[in-house]
Symmetry: C2
Subunit: 326 residues, 2 copies
């Protein structure tokens, strides 16, 4: 079988590819395991090269229909659609967000429909689909009222993934990812970028600016658990999911103050003191519309993996960096 990962050069895409290579097989729409012959990583930039002949890296723009058409054939049994213009960027460049987050995603769905072999499609959505006047704890049944273009665009594709699944064009799964933390590497244009920055940079001996108040509540998931959850979501039988393909992944609810306290416990007061507060109203506005606490009842009933506590998440990040520095 052939697997396609969009956003394949991103850190989630690369980690997912590594996990799939290690595991070597995936469940197809028939429920049986098939060995993976090829993993196509597509992205606008080249990923660090993999020393594995099953990996094929392709660079291009997925909003170009001709390019996208090349990537999907009836051997493409499984697609992980991770590519996105991130929240801060989609807010700043409306047209770019619509082109990549909506148009390219719809084209991907259309190619699946026209190919006619009902591929599995695992779509990485986001907590940003929630927003506005939310209950204290967001339930799986809470209406989506996103307060960002990124959240809107993700919510739109969620609806299509559900309808294309209902129509039998794909076997879709929508995984709403919490904010991933601690994300390795450098800051990006996501409004949530600081959540990793205030842990990662101080651990590297660098100062970090926190653009939101200490009381801000976040809903977090570690990179390792995110990959495990994406894999788990893919392997769930179609029947178990039923008509509703949306799953809020189980995250950790934590305030920025609690994150800083955890950093101090794990790495010491000197490290935690490298964080300074520089409130950025633009970022605070976006982040404050996201829910800080979600019940994630459906995900728990399916048995999705979750993180136990934030101290362990920081320790895991330190361990990851020791083994493979970003």
């Amino acid at each position: 079988m052939k697997v396609l990962i969009t956003g394949g050069a991103g850190f989630l895409g690369r980690r997912l590819a590594a996990k799939l290579l290690e595991h070597g097989r995936l469940k197809g729409a028939d429920g049986n395991e098939h060995s993976i012959d090829q993993i196509v990583l597509v992205d606008v930039v080249e990923a660090a090269s993999f020393a594995d002949s099953r990996i094929r890296q392709i660079t291009g723009d997925i909003s170009d229909p001709d390019f996208l058409t090349m990537l999907i054939d009836t051997a493409t049994v499984s697609i992980f659609h991770l590519a996105a213009v991130v929240s801060g960027q989609a807010e700043a460049d409306f047209e770019l967000g619509m082109r990549i987050n909506v148009d390219a995603s719809v084209q991907l769905l259309e190619l699946c429909r026209k190919a006619g072999h009902r591929p599995k499609l695992t779509f990485a959505s986001s907590v940003a689909v929630y927003g506005g006047d939310l209950p204290a704890v967001v339930l799986d049944s809470t209406a989506l009222t996103p307060q960002s273009s990124y959240g809107t665009q993700k919510a739109v594709i969620e609806l299509f993934v559900n309808d294309y699944t209902r129509k039998g064009f794909i076997d879709g799964r929508v995984l709403r990812l919490p904010t991933i933390c601690v994300r390795p590497g450098r800051p990006n244009a996501a409004a949530s970028s600081f959540a990793s920055g205030i842990i990662r940079e101080p651990l590297n001996g660098e100062p970090a600016a926190c653009p939101v108040s200490e009381q801000t509540r976040l809903w977090l998931l570690s990179p390792q658990t995110a990959i495990d959850a994406i894999f788990f979501g893919h392997e769930l039988p179609s029947d178990a999911l039923g008509a509703n393909r949306n799953i809020n992944l189980p995250g950790l609810t934590i305030t920025v103050a609690e994150m800083v306290a955890a950093l101090e416990r794990v790495a010491g007061a000197q490290v935690a003191k490298r964080i300074r507060w520089e409130i950025d109203p633009r970022i605070e506005r976006l982040v404050s519309t996201w829910p800080g606490e979600l019940e994630a009842q459906r995900a728990r009933s399916f048995g999705f993996p979750g993180d136990t506590d934030f101290d362990a998440v920081i320790r895991q990040h330190i361990e990851d960096q020791r083994r493979a520095p970003a």
Copy 2:
């Protein structure tokens, strides 16, 4: 000011135009009333002609960007977007539904954004955005899990209307219409077409087939109240609506058996006996996924008009037919 009504040849479009002609003015985005200089009715077919020089009828395909571009300029202060491929047709012809209900609507929003004058846009959405595993009473905060392509496509445009409003590109209002009953004229491809047929045809001395069981609950709104509600929704100040532009209009919750009993009370047993049951699983499947009861708390708090009882709705239909037979 210039008003554009898409689906302007449809029965709601024509009635809305008649109401606007009679009223003569509309509130602009500035909150002040402006007199209506022109109402452009656009549709794929020609409407019955209006004896009013303010009406301009244009025939064409709104999914053609060049055609749509002609229809909108900075004088177009208000747009009522009623055009749609109806539920049964969007389910049978997936590509057509996507082209009209999604692509054309997005192009309309994009033209508004590019025109740059922040027109008011009143979007006719539908109870079909709800579906699947619903609570006994649907609240304004219930998540959208449509179980039809029509409902999905309406839900997608709702999200965009909200985001385009948040970004300041339009001043949008989403009015989720209950099933309109009694709709004059002939049956159409909407899965809900029978709801009008089982009242209208017996009153005309004709037999009518009911494709769903007597226990089926429907959520209904009369044509007159629908027009009043669309007008009312347009005139609401932008500030009153706030960030959430979606409004479930207040409908009547009623079973098919109760509808038949009302017909018998108003028109006699002989008329009601003209209904026969011919269960159509395709229609029953679609209709049964729609909620039969909605709280419509927001609409009531704004003071939207509603119908009092179904007997009055039937009497209104009889009166309408007497004055202007379809």
